[in-house]
Symmetry: C2
Subunit: 202 residues, 2 copies
Amino acid sequence: MGRHREFDVEKALDAALCVFWRKGYEGASYADLTEAAGVERPALYSAFGNKEALFRQALARYDERYLGYIPEALQLPTAWEVAAHILYNAADLNTRYPDRTGCFGINGALAGSDEAEPVRQALIDFRAAAQAQLRERFERAKAEGDLPETAKSDALAAFVMAVTHGMAVQAKAGFSRAMLEAVAEQALSTWPTGSSTSSGTS
Amino acid sequence: MGRHREFDVEKALDAALCVFWRKGYEGASYADLTEAAGVERPALYSAFGNKEALFRQALARYDERYLGYIPEALQLPTAWEVAAHILYNAADLNTRYPDRTGCFGINGALAGSDEAEPVRQALIDFRAAAQAQLRERFERAKAEGDLPETAKSDALAAFVMAVTHGMAVQAKAGFSRAMLEAVAEQALSTWPTGSSTSSGTS
DNA sequence: CCTTTTTCATAATGGCCATTACTAAACCAC
DNA sequence: GTGGTTTAGTAATGGCCATTATGAAAAAGG
């Protein structure tokens, strides 16, 4: 029993996600969030908890709604294709929405006040998880002869992630999608190969 | 005539620089700044103006005190050496001070509230200036035959900058200097060459 | 020594922040 | 239809924010 909720919780979360994406965790105020969601403050609190809880749910939603290309990439047959898929899709995602350029996980909280420490750490862990998956995929590639035995899979994974992070910074600075693709292309141009070499784009 | 200033303005600026480096523009409060500088609020205002003016002076000081390796790099004989010098020195600077990892120019303001827009733009312009210098240096390298005619100097400059930005994000996340150096090494491993090839590290 | 000028430190100001009482309205069970 | 329960919206609360008024202290000129 009781009164029904009058707003769509998922739409409100999507709206909050966009605000956090654009302004980051600390840069987003409840005035911004309620305006974007079209919902009053207490409704957001009752539906999501406090600001930190709302941000964490927005992060989870970002993962499932926008980062599907990462598990996609991991299933591609060669390490080169994995890296290319990630880099080109990152270039696309970082420039696809002009009102929220860059990456949610980078814009969210890089530096900030001490109160934002838990959120910052959550984003660090989130990126670390992706990087670990990538490293494991590259280790598999070594076992399959797709990468040379001398390749350092952790360094390669860190490198691919670094380039995506750098592209996110550049996208937030207004770089065009074409420019980011050129960065991705350069990053891929010296990819180590095992027995077979690859070419083409994702 | 009049009373003498009792604190060292340069030391206060250095202290503010460290706070901004660690917490970014919006994450740093005057409580943080005055504590670090050992100076009361009105003294900071009278010496530097408001928070934005203080930040801009901190940025200028960061440039002259910590980024000397960039003009240094630009004078090296080959494009490869230029890139290597920048990447390895960035890896060093981003991890040199455990209390302020990453890069002032990235931590300072990536995303934030609308009030921080001018500061964000100032940092974007700052990075763009460095990237333009790098691009010009690479164009010279093409003229000198140090880079192939087919090389795209703007893409190469953007790539080198992207890797430094990515390393800054990773350093802020706690990555070790060795890991960042491995990223730098991977970034340099496929550098295009003209007639001569290079090797070694900076 | 006294006046003028500058700096110092305390403490105030107004605004925005996240969070939440509180009241009225809407719904379900009975 | 009525009682119990959940939501909606207004408006309050306490805290921190950048900024500055105020007055004491200190230095230099006359």
